[in-house]
Point group: C2
Chain length 335, copies 2
Amino acid sequence: MSRNAKAGLEDIARAAGVSKMTVSRVLRGSSGFSEETRARVMSEVERLGYLPNRIAAAFGSGGTSTLVGVCVPRFASSLFGSTLESINTSLMRLGYQSMIGSHDQLPEEEEIWLKGLASWRPAGIILAARRHTPETLSLLRDLTVPIVEMWDLNTQPIDVSVGFSHFDDGYTMGRFLMLRGRRRYGYVGAMANRVTTGRNRRDGFEAALREGGISLAASETLEDHPGFYAGYYGTELLISREPKLDGIYYHDDEMAIGGMAWLASRGIRVPDDIGIAGWGGMEAASIQPRRLTTTVVPTALIGKTAAELLVGRMRGDPVQDVTMIPTRLVPGETV
Amino acid sequence: MSRNAKAGLEDIARAAGVSKMTVSRVLRGSSGFSEETRARVMSEVERLGYLPNRIAAAFGSGGTSTLVGVCVPRFASSLFGSTLESINTSLMRLGYQSMIGSHDQLPEEEEIWLKGLASWRPAGIILAARRHTPETLSLLRDLTVPIVEMWDLNTQPIDVSVGFSHFDDGYTMGRFLMLRGRRRYGYVGAMANRVTTGRNRRDGFEAALREGGISLAASETLEDHPGFYAGYYGTELLISREPKLDGIYYHDDEMAIGGMAWLASRGIRVPDDIGIAGWGGMEAASIQPRRLTTTVVPTALIGKTAAELLVGRMRGDPVQDVTMIPTRLVPGETV
DNA sequence: GATTGCTACGTTACCGGTAACTCATGCAGT
DNA sequence: ACTGCATGAGTTACCGGTAACGTAGCAATC
């Protein structure tokens, strides 16, 4: 019970009457000791309250640590928060420790984070970004550790990729809306730091419309983080420029809900006057009077899969290069 | 540009014609070298693409690392997400690296996380929980590193505490509602893993009512994570048991918004028929037809302050034991 | 009986930095 | 001229593990 932070392998070894190396072997579970020795060592470990020293272990083994770097755009997003939590607990359960960073969609921030991370000699890296600086790519190459690119599926990954296609999500939603026979569509998006994360979804959406012979009637992309209020005033801006729209595709559900709030305040009915579609499958949609038409993203599954793929690669198991995690269009009552 | 991960201090030293120790001194900025030497060393550092090795540095200095452990209830919460992000970037800017964990309100999970963290010999710890297991407390004591308890203010901190009082927030809101002259109040809360985080707010709220000579007419605490939908059906449960209420105090804003959605679906008007108050100052409230009466919590400031206090303590600066970060009641239009 | 192979360890060297100490030099003050 | 001290280095030991290799003892094989 009384934990003695100063007890090291040497102390255990002396107490158990074996060598330091034998204690090391017992603690790491590799073979090379008798059951009797194991029991004696473990009882001393318990009695002395030995605390492993991973700094020394990582150093002694020449840089083979159990550290994993994880970099996402933001913590404070319901989707990334859930993915991050899933990665973190999965890695912890598998015996790895994560070092998390955020880049807010800025490749330069990712580069700064990566440089700091690299000095900890991580055993693997999980990234959630498609754009990287040349320095980042060069550093990733030099580190020669497994790398999982997640979220946005990269079909030509640096190493391993897991996620889904934003383009396909937009395309599928576009096709779905087209089936409703409406013709005049608008788009409301948001971009943080000049990077529209939803850009690929919008492109996919437009591609579907184009196939149907029409083009996007209006589009409004705010220079702000996506959120309820951005959807609210983005819709106001869009409608004031283009009052006669049949439907609006939103960056995500929260923006769609914000948009619906603005429409409701103007007496515009959904879906009678205008159809609404979001993306993400966010919880806020659950209390809307009408179920939101959206694309549900399995955030936790993506995180868990990313963690498992990385651990597989770090252990040297053969793993799939590209793993698609399907999203699901949920037809609601807003279209 | 071509980063050579294998170059170490020794290589730099040889190339610059000095000793390894001089290179170490130059890189860490401590004095003991001439400007000429510094320039020569730095140019070799640049040329060879030296990557610092913090594992070796932490090991060599006998465990004085720049690692900080941070443990919060959840990542995927708008409030904690924001605080976490703030801590992470603040620590990074100050030259520290964080290792983040989540405990989901379970002291046992916190203990497991702490044991894993301890083996990395962190230089400091930030915790967001009031309850700890005896083992956790004993381990925290043995680690002898600065500890910041944040979020819920602890006036008798283990080491340092920063945050606000949930009790006071509830009390202040209770007083505010009482001024409106209403008499019959209900409460809708949520608890994850049998721990009601909002318990202190509810207690404060009840204390205020008691001073006014009344008691809580009805209370409903769901065994679920707080969120929009929990507020929605929690309100349904509350009202079905106690239809005649003048006001409802909610665990947080998202639950209040969920509650308002349910009330709206029944044609119950806010604030005419019933007053509503939330807590947290969450973004979703920004699109409600009426501004929600709530308590705004400066989440990012708490994170930044926690990081700065910890770094102060780690550097040995004198820092305040207890730092109150005031929250602010924002009277909206729902009461 | 000699050789081989396996088990269960012990020995030794080393990972890449940092702390603590030593030492030569130059210059100001007495 | 001598002392004292700051400056700018070099030297040595060490942090606490792990990898690689060595070896004693014993059973199985040749």
